[in-house]
Symmetry: C2
C-alpha cells in the first residue's frame, strides 16, 4: 500500500503481499487460493466465526501447506459478531480496516486510529452523532479483536480428508467442468495451462455445464403446497431458469423418491394413477418470484432459502430418475411443462422473459434444435464460455448452439440449414439407392418411412429411430455409409435467436435476405424494444416517447413493424406473441412456426430489467398481459399455409383502456414525464394514437389476407 | 515478336519496337501517340488512303518531329481499297499481316508467305476454295503494296498549323478537360505527372465534363420534321442521353440562330409568339432510336449520321444561347422538357432507362440536388472518373454527386441531409438573431420570407435569392457570417440513387434504417430486376422463372415487394413508376416524393440490356408500357400526406392479358423455355399467378389505407 499526496496513475497486480485479509469466510470454504498471495513471513487475516479448530476443518490442505512452509502469520477475527453487537449489522468493513492498520503496522497505530476516526467523523456526521460513535467504537475494537493462531507442524504435510468433489454426468462434460470451470470458478483461471483447452481448440464446448454451477444466490425461493395446487403448471411455464418443474411419478418412482418430496394425487384423466410433484431447485432459483404471480391458487409462496435447501434432493431425484409422464393430447401449457427443459439455470437476470421463451421452445423441439444466436443478451445468458445452460436429455440429445456476429446471425443460421439440407439430400439419394437395391424387407420399409416423413419434424424422429435400428442390422456398404451420417438423419429444427437490436437494426439486412429465401428456418426475436445488453440504446423496436441512449428526450418515431414487413413476402410465417398474456396463443404460434415448411418469424414481447417496471421483474409476465390488454402490444399470427384461407388471425382484443397508466408504470417512459413534462404528454399521446391506428390497421389486414373473400 | 514451340507465359509491355503499324487512319487524326513507340531507325507502317502530301496534313507536328529526329522509316499502304478490290470488304488484316512480314524481315519472305498461305488454307477451307484463294491473293498483295515515303527535312522543326483546340466553359472545368481528360482520351494517361491531379487531391472533380467528349458513335441519328411535329416533347422525355431538346425561341433568338436550325410556329397558348425547335446533337446521340417509338406523328426518324452533323451547330446554339421558355402551368411532360437537363451525354448503354429517369429528375430539381449514388450501373454512367455527365445550368447550379460503397449508400445520403440540416439550423438561429437585432426593413422582410419558406424547396429558392441580395447590402458581422455559408441557404433536394442490387439486397439494411428515420430524403431505385453492372446476378428484385447468375434454372421465389415493405412504416412516401407507361404518373410521383417532408422511396421499372428484349433497347419505353398493361409491373403511389385521406392510389388498371407473351418477349425469361421447357411452364405460370394475386392485394390496400373508411 502506498500513501502520498501525488495520485497513483498506474495499476499494480500484487501477488506477493505482506498482508492479505479474507473478509468473507465462504471464500475459505469455496477454496479460493488467497493465502498463496502472501509473501513468506507475511500476515493472513481471516474474518470468521470459527475457532482455530474449526478453521482446521475448513482450510484446504494446499493452504495449510503453504502457511506452514512459508511461516505465514495467521490471525482470526470475528468481525461478524462484533459488528452485530455494536449495532452495525452486516457492516464489518470499519472493524476490519482497523485490524489491518494494527497488524500491517504501516504507520504508528495511534496515528492510524486518529486518522480513521477523523475520516469517519467527516463521512458520517451528516447521518448523526450515533453513527459516528458507532464507527469510532468499531475502530477501537478492530485494533485489538484479532487472535494469532499457532500453526500445527502437521500442516506442512496436510492432506484433505474429503477428496475433491466427484461430478456425475457425461465424461467429456465432467472433464470440462473439473479441469476448466472449477479452476475458473475458484478465480484460478490464470493458472490453467494452454493444454487444458486442447479438447476445445475448435471452439466447441459441451452443453449442460450450467447445471454444475450451484449459485445459491436467492434469498427467498418458492415453496409448494401440494394440497392447494391445481396442477396447472403455469409456474413452470413462466420460470426463466427452469427451476420449478412438474413431474408425474409412478408408484415405484414415488416410493423411491427422497422423503422430502411432496406429492399429491395426479389430477385429471391423463394423470390417473400418477403422483404429481412440483420439484423446485433452491440452489438454482434466482428468487425472481415470477412463478408466484402466475399461480391461480397461491399454492406457491416465497420463503427463506435456508428452509428449502433440503428440497434440492427431491429436485435432483426427479431430474435424474423420473421419466416424462403424462404425455397429454395436443400441445397445452400443462403438457409442455412435463417435457424436460433443455435450457436451464442460465445466468440471466432474475425474471428474464427471454429465457422463459427460449426454455419453452426447447421443451417443444429441443432434442432436434440447431440454434444460431446473435450477439446480445441471449448470447450472454445463452453461453458464457464453457458454461452452457443449454443441455441434453437422457438420450444425449439437445440443442446445438452457436453464436455468430451481431450482424450476420440470420445468415449463420441459414448456413446451418443449408448444410443440413445438403447432407440430408445426399442421405435421401443413398436411401433411394438402398431401396432400389437388394435389401431386407424390414429395412426397406423403415427406409421408405424415413423418406416419407423427411420433412415432418416429429414424425421423422420416430421413423429415423426405426431406420437406424434396421440399418445397424444390415452389412451392406451403403447402409454403413448412411449410418456414418446418422446424426443428420432426423429433420432438425433450425432456430435463429436474437434481440431487437439485431433483428430490427444491425442484422436486419441479413434477416430479410434469409426470410426472402423461402427456406425452412425459424426466427425468434426477443423484443425488449431496446439494446439491453449494451446499455440501453434505442433500436427501431423502441417506441414513441421511450427514453433510451441516443433518445434521451424520448424517441421521435414509432416502432418499426417488423412482423408486418415480413408478412409482405406472403410466404413467411409470422407471429407476435406475449407469453404472459395468452399462453395458448404463444404455444400455438411456436408450434405452427416450427411446422411451417418455409421461413418463420416470431416476435416475442420481452419486458426487461431495462424497462424498470414498477415493483421489478417479479411483474414481468403480468406486464405482458397489461401490454396486450391496453393495446401497447398486439397478438397475431400470419400463416401462409392456413387451411381455411384465413391467413391472418388477430389474436388480441381491441384496446381496453389504461394505455397511459401502462406507460406510467415503466420508468423507461415515466422518466420522460419527470424530465420533459410537456413533451412527454405529446409523445405519449402520439404513442397511444399510433397504437390505436395500428390495431385498426391489423383489423383491416384480416380481410386483406382472407382468401375466402374477394 | 517471338517464335517458338514453347508458349510465352509472361506479358511484355513493348514501347521500343522495331516495327509499329497503324491499321486505322483515324488514330492518326485523333493524334494517338503511336510512332513514339518505334525505336530509332525502326519502321512505322500506316494503313490509309492518303498520298504522302495528305499524310503531311494529318500527321501531328509532334509525330513528324519524332520521325525526322529518330530516322524512322515510314511506309504507307492502302489496304482499305485493296481489300475492297479483291472482294474482302472491310477485312484488311491478311493484307497488313503480309506487309508486316515483308517489312519486319523476321524470317525469309518466301518462307513467311508459304507459312501464311498454309495457315489460310487450313483456316478457311471449310468456307470454300474461293475464300482460300482470296486470302492467298491478299497475302501476295500485302507483301508488295506498301510505299516508303521520303521524310522532308522540315519535319524536324514541324509545328501544327491549327493550334490545340480551345474549349469554352468554366475555367476549372476547361483546365480539367485539357490537362486530364484529353491526354487520357488520347491513350496517353500514363504520361500525366502526379501534379496534374493536385487540383483533385480530395477526390473532387468538376461536373459537366461529359459534354466535352464528343463520341460520335451513332451510325444513325434522328432527324426532325418541323411540320409533322405536334410539339408534345415525348421524344425529349425518353431520351437517355439528353440529346434531343425542345426550345421556345423569341424572334431575336430565332434570327440569331444558325441557318441549319429548323423551326415551326409555337403551338398552344404558352408558346404564342415563340418559335419551336427540336435541337438534336448528332455527336452525342447514341443512336438508340427510343425517341422514334415515342413520337405520335412520325415527325422524327433515324437517318445516317453524316447528313445530320451540321445540326450540331443548331444544338450548340440553343444550349448556349436560348433561355428556358415557356414555363407552363403545372408539371407536365411537355413542360418538364423545356427545362435544361442537368444530366447529359453519359456513357450509359444506348436506350438506357435509368438515365432517362435520372435526367428527368434533374430537370425538375437539378439545380438544388445532392445525390448519393450506390455503386452499380448508375455510378458508372453517373461518373466515370473526371467525366461527369451531371452538369450545371447557366447560374453554375447543378447536382452535387458522390458515390459511396455498395452497402452504405443510403447512410451516405442521409449524412448529406444531416450535414445540411445542421448548417441550416445554425443559419436559422443566426437569421432569427438578425431579425431580433437592428437591421434594415427590406433585409428583415427578406429574412422572414426565407425563414417562412425554409422547408419548401421551390419557394425557398426565390426567397433565398432575395435574402442574399439584401444580406449583401448589410455591413453587419452577422449578415457577413450568414453570407459566408450562403450555398447552404436554399433547401436542397437530397437524393439517394441506386439499383435493385443495392436497394433490395446489399444496401437494404441501411436503406431501411434511413427510411425509418422519418427524415426528408428521397430515394430513387432503378429497378432492373438484376445486378446489371456486375454481370447479371439474381437479386431479390428478380422474379419467378427469370434466368440470371445464381439462378441458371430460373429464380424460385417471387420478387420482393420493396415498395409495400416501405409502406408498412406509414410515414414513408412510396411510389412505383414506369416512365414509358404513364408519363403523367411518373412525373406526379417524383414531384410528390420530393415535396413530401419525410422520407420518400420511388421504385422505377427499368428495362435493361440484360433483359435482352426482342428488337433491342429501342423498345425500352414500349416494354415498360407492356409490363404495366399485362400486370407484370404495377403503378401506385402511397402518400402519407394525402389531403383527401386516401393514402394509397393504385394507378394501374387490372391486368389486360398478354402476360405470357410479355415474358416470351425477353430472353431473360424465354431462354428458360428453351433450356428447361417443363420447368419454365410451371415457373411462368407461378409468375403470372403471383402477379394476379399481387394486383388483387393492391386493390385491397386501397381500402386499408383509406382513412375516410373505418
Amino acid at each position: 500500500m502506498r500513501f502520498g499526496d501525488s495520485p497513483i496513475r498506474s495499476t499494480y497486480y500484487v501477488n506477493q503481499a505482506d498482508f492479505v485479509a479474507c473478509h468473507n469466510p465462504s471464500y475459505i470454504i469455496k477454496g479460493f487460493k488467497m493465502v498463496r498471495d502472501v509473501k513468506p513471513g507475511g500476515t493472513f487475516l481471516i474474518n470468521c466465526q470459527w475457532t482455530p479448530e474449526e478453521l482446521d476443518k475448513h482450510l484446504p490442505a494446499v493452504a495449510k501447506q503453504y502457511i506452514a512452509k512459508n511461516k505465514i502469520n495467521v490471525y482470526l477475527i470475528n468481525a461478524i459478531d462484533l459488528a452485530k453487537e455494536i449495532g452495525m449489522g452486516k457492516r464489518t468493513n470499519t472493524i476490519l480496516q482497523s485490524a489491518f492498520f494494527s497488524l500491517a503496522k504501516i504507520m504508528p497505530q495511534k496515528q492510524a486510529i486518529q486518522y480513521m476516526k477523523d475520516a469517519a467523523t467527516k463521512s458520517y456526521l451528516k447521518k448523526g452523532q450515533d453513527i459516528v460513535d458507532m464507527n469510532h467504537k468499531a475502530i477501537d475494537l478492530g485494533a485489538t479483536a484479532y487472535v494469532k493462531i499457532d500453526i500445527p507442524a502437521s500442516w506442512k504435510t496436510a492432506t484433505d480428508k474429503t477428496s475433491a468433489p466427484k461430478y456425475k454426468g457425461r465424461p467429456a462434460l465432467v472433464k470440462q467442468v473439473t479441469e476448466i470451470m472449477d479452476p475458473v470458478a475458484h478465480m484460478d483461471g490464470d493458472s490453467l495451462p494452454v493444454s487444458a483447452f486442447m479438447p476445445h481448440i475448435d471452439g466447441q464446448f459441451e452443453t449442460g455445464a450450467a447445471a454444475y454451477e450451484k449459485r445459491g444466490v436467492a434469498v427467498t425461493v418458492p415453496t409448494w403446497d401440494a394440497e392447494k395446487c391445481i396442477q396447472c403448471n403455469n409456474c413452470a411455464y413462466v420460470c426463466p431458469h427452469a427451476c420449478i418443474r412438474p413431474y408425474g411419478l409412478t408408484k415405484a418412482e414415488a416410493k423411491a423418491a427422497p422423503k422430502v418430496t411432496k406429492m399429491a394425487e395426479g389430477k385429471g384423466k391423463a394423470m390417473a394413477g400418477l403422483q404429481y410433484t412440483l420439484a423446485i431447485s433452491p440452489l438454482d432459483c434466482m428468487g425472481c418470484g415470477v412463478c408466484i404471480g402466475q399461480c391461480p391458487t397461491q399454492a406457491i409462496q416465497m420463503v427463506p432459502t435456508e428452509g428449502e435447501l433440503a428440497q434440492q434432493k427431491a429436485f435432483d431425484y426427479c431430474v435424474e430418475k423420473v421419466s416424462r409422464k403424462p404425455k397429454l393430447e395436443g400441445t397445452t401449457v400443462k403438457d409442455s411443462q412435463f417435457a424436460q427443459p433443455l435450457l436451464e439455470f442460465s445466468g440471466a437476470c432474475a425474471g428474464c422473459a427471454e429465457t422463459a421463451y427460449a426454455r419453452l421452445v426447447t421443451q417443444l423441439f429441443g432434442d432436434r434444435m440447431y440454434i444460431a444466436n446473435a450477439t446480445g443478451c441471449s448470447s450472454i445468458w445463452g453461453n458464457p464460455a464453457a458454461t452452457s445452460p443449454y443441455t441434453v436429455n437422457k438420450d444425449g440429445h439437445g440443442p446445438a448452439w452457436s453464436n455468430s456476429l451481431f450482424e450476420d446471425n440470420a445468415e449463420h443460421g441459414y448456413g446451418m440449414h443449408l448444410g443440413q439440407q445438403a447432407v440430408r439430400n445426399n442421405l435421401k439419394q443413398k436411401t433411394e439407392e438402398l431401396i432400389e437395391g437388394r435389401c431386407a424387407e424390414p429395412l426397406k420399409r423403415a427406409a421408405k418411412a424415413w423418406l416419407r416423413t423427411m420433412d415432418d419434424g416429429e414424425a421423422n424422429k420416430a421413423a429415423t429411430e426405426k431406420y437406424i435400428e434396421q440399418l445397424k442390422k444390415s452389412s451392406s456398404a451403403l447402409a454403413k455409409e448412411i449410418l456414418s451420417k446418422s446424426e443428420f438423419l432426423t429433420k432438425k429444427s433450425v432456430w435463429i435467436f436474437g434481440g431487437d437490436g439485431w433483428a430490427y437494426d444491425i442484422g436486419y439486412g441479413g434477416l430479410d435476405h434469409v426470410l426472402a429465401s423461402g427456406d425452412d428456418v425459424n426466427v425468434f426475436v426477443f423484443d425488449t424494444e431496446v439494446y439491453s445488453n449494451t446499455g440501453g440504446q434505442a433500436s427501431k423496436a423502441s417506441n414513441i416517447g421511450q427514453v433510451a441512449q441516443f433518445a434521451a428526450a424520448g424517441k421521435e418515431v414509432k416502432k418499426k413493424s417488423l412482423a408486418e414487413i415480413a408478412m409482405a413476402y406472403g410466404y413467411v410465417y409470422v407471429a407476435q406473441i406475449a407469453m404472459g398474456s395468452k399462453p395458448a396463443q404463444t404455444i400455438k404460434a411456436i408450434v405452427e412456426a416450427e411446422a411451417y415448411p418455409g421461413p418463420s418469424l416470431i416476435v416475442g414481447y420481452c419486458p426487461c430489467e431495462m424497462h424498470s417496471i414498477k415493483g421489478g421483474m417479479i411483474n414481468c409476465q403480468e406486464e405482458m398481459k397489461k401490454a396486450v390488454d391496453c393495446g401497447y402490444w398486439n397478438l397475431f399470427r400470419f400463416n401462409p399455409a392456413a387451411e381455411d384461407g384465413k391467413k391472418f388471425i388477430l389474436d388480441s382484443k381491441a384496446p381496453a383502456g389504461g394505455y397511459q397508466e401502462f406507460l406510467a408504470n415503466e420508468a423507461r417512459y415515466n422518466r420522460l414525464a419527470r424530465e420533459f413534462p410537456g413533451r412527454s404528454k405529446e409523445l405519449f399521446k402520439r404513442n397511444e394514437a399510433a397504437a390505436e391506428a395500428r390495431f385498426k390497421h391489423l383489423e383491416k389486414l384480416q380481410a386483406v389476407y382472407d382468401d375466402t373473400q374477394e
